[in-house]
Symmetry: D2
Subunit: 265 residues, 4 copies
């Protein structure tokens, strides 16, 4: 599907704040950037990082005071397949080397603490795909989507207790349970079609049958309408802005639309 | 310096346990493996990972029951420089792209929670090198080296409260404070000369003046006698054994000696 | 039922350690102490606290080095009723004033964090008694009784994640869920008939229909065979020994037997 | 000193919310209520608890929708002495029985975790009074008074890491450190003269030389201008409103003034 994505940030930074921005569509194998535009006002020198192995693209800069950052792109996100229940869980020896890092616990996903729960709750299922789908369903059934309960410091452990959170909290739970089951899982930030209210979205992906599968336990977006931005171990890696000092987001607008061509199709 | 390193593990694994072992000397730029030998008994098929960008080498396998793993190597670890106080803290725009991941919080190093403390305690120092040295001294002065207080789940936050721990806890505090100051920092597992009692050692390194500097806040080993094994965000990434199921370490012996040639020098 | 209870502690204390000991059977309304004996060797001056409103009796002293503490008593614990499902949950205005303190969170029972979970899981049940019984069943069904997982610092929040613990952890979960439902609940230490292996036991009680009901979510002891020792908000209040400094329990023996007379009946 | 205190709460309660209100001046030995008035609008049946041993007075009720609660009183708070540095720390055997409960950790004051830190930082001081004053000074020196950092769930452990909080967080740290030193300490809610901005205040008190001493580590109020409301183990016990369900504080006004007579004196 071809999608027009657009984000507009108006932020207030302390003097000389180091900034890493992760708002650009990824140049990953599963999507193609047809055109894009990045505008920072007033003008600052930007260091544009090359896409890494995962396709992630970020820019770095040093900002002060009020700054507007606008990004827009036309992206073809191809066809995103749904995870089949029969997808096989890979043995660790079969995993690509660069996938191993997604097996271990991270800041917001202390999977080491959930080994017993995950085995109790999802261990009986035979296939990896069925397990991961059960994880996603469990989260949807047991956690309320409710803004204001979690903060920037909320871990999956905390959300497991609170039973409420937003998209990043849902993704953290999914990642945590998967890793606790020995399945590699990672966080993905995305532009998402039909997300209401529109915002940056956080989902996760699990590695099964030799590839990554996108999953959204909030059910707020369809996998088919996602445009990847960043990928990482958890929200610590994929924040849309990582700053060395105080930063206030004064205004934020995110918009995603099916491009005319796609609409016609 | 040329060093003979040797580790001997006798472990008991549950049936068909997936294992990632990180006990081999790294093939990093700052050390040369002159010879080595790895012996797993009984014999199992091993997947030997190629050294990654950091030089880390791990092997993967699937083990059952009692297994002996012996590794020995002769390594030239070159000359390891001490971090100078005047070393400059890099702006984030100046950092190599693959160093950025060591700025963000991780499982055991929730640096996001320590920004205020780190600024209060170390913020007045002008140079990055002086800051990091002050971090290392602070840890040595305020934390007791005491086995038995921390567990596999202990975070730097917890050690900051407990004021006691072992080498990995000391390293986690160092990493956490550095990241809270905007300085990239990461965990390193190592063979360490003169460590008493001998064991795998955990230290950390900080990125300043365009390179990584090894630091040991426990002061139990000299940087000059370290042979790198693994590198990662924190202990979650550099465990000598990561397993998918129960594993009991029945016996563990680690030995490090200056090689004859070095002794002569 | 008449029960002979006996505990024998051999402890090593640092010099001049302040000690509060809670090992004596309570002089509560629901049990009668027929005879008892307390022996501390070597001899130390003891401050024997009078039974408080709950009947709890503790002694205080200052100990050094190796000390043996032996307590034995013959207690008639009367007839302990099981909580009926139809027991009514009291409105807060109806509660006796001294029960109010058992509504609020405590060190090991952060009930404020479980309001949503408790409402989701137990909120549909109509009667307080049914709710509390569902709480007790939930704990038994979802948590493994397994020594070695929890420590002296483990909270109910942690056990909720770990899904494993011992009697005090089970009690903490019960207390936490009850308070989260607005039902007063408190921790009780006890001598327990037929507990295997024999030890001090921890259970909890909930306030419904104008009285306290004893409950054991581990199902390791029957309510009828419990002899109360201490009562408090959680384990922080009912430890068998609270000390101002280091104390090693070198040996601990606990024994509970039905008295001859009871056996005959 | 004679003080006019007044609080005005406008709250919105869910249907039939159980409420425990702790806003009335305590009838404790160290202060005399000369006159007072409590007005709940619309009118509801109130259960007025008798003053307990600590003098605390609370009322209970069941409220729905928008309710205004106004309390005013003229109180003589006598003369409040400052804790002398030479005040002696009592041995546990010397403590009144009802003071023992303030030695153990509570929801927001996990003093068991701070034994090492407290001994390291304050252990060298000889007298209990000097220790407690050092505790109060340490908090003032190392923690920023900053609203918005802490929440209703913030513990002393968290504030110790954050190094920022409000009056209740400061009090929690004081209580935690004192208990970790073996000194009984408890939380006190109060009306406070000259507090800016005016609000309910939280302070703590430590038990030394056979009595309780009020302390305010924020230095925002003088001990002489405090009118006690509630006393408890920590904030869980002294909230101005404890409710069984949702409650929004729409408006809150607190005012404290020296009474005319006092002004004249």
């Amino acid at each position: 599907m071809k999608l027009n994505v657009r984000s507009e940030l108006l932020c207030h930074f302390g003097p000389d704040t180091e900034v890493i921005a992760s708002i650009q569509a990824a140049a990953s194998r599963d999507q193609t950037i047809l055109s894009e535009r990045l505008l920072v006002t007033p003008s600052y020198e930007l260091v544009q990082d090359a896409p890494d192995a995962r396709g992630e693209r970020r820019f770095r800069t040093r900002l002060s005071g009020e700054v507007s950052i606008v990004y827009e792109a036309l992206v073809d996100n191809g066809v995103r397949a749904e995870l089949p229940s029969r997808a096989a869980q890979s043995g660790w020896c079969e995993l690509p080397q660069d996938v191993l890092q997604y097996l271990t616990p991270s800041r917001y996903c202390p999977s080491d603490k959930f080994v017993r729960f995950a085995a109790r709750e999802f261990g009986d299922l035979r296939h990896g795909g069925a397990r991961v789908r059960a994880v996603v369903d469990w989260i949807y059934d047991h956690v309320d989507y409710e803004p204001g309960v979690s903060t920037a410091e909320t871990t999956a452990e905390r959300t497991f207790v609170d039973r409420a959170g937003v998209c990043r909290d849902f993704a953290h739970l999914g990642i945590t349970f998967c890793r606790a089951l020995g399945i590699p899982a990672r966080a993905v930030s995305a532009y998402a079609l039909d997300l209401d209210p529109p915002d940056f979205h956080a989902v996760f992906e699990a590695f099964l049958d030799g590839r990554w599968w996108l999953l959204d336990p909030t059910r707020l977006a369809s996998v088919g309408g996602l445009v990847r931005i960043g990928v990482g171990r958890d929200a610590a890696d994929i924040a849309f802005l990582t700053t060395s000092g105080p930063c206030t987001v004064v205004a934020k607008t995110v918009a995603v639309e099916a491009a005319a061509e796609s609409l016609a199709a």
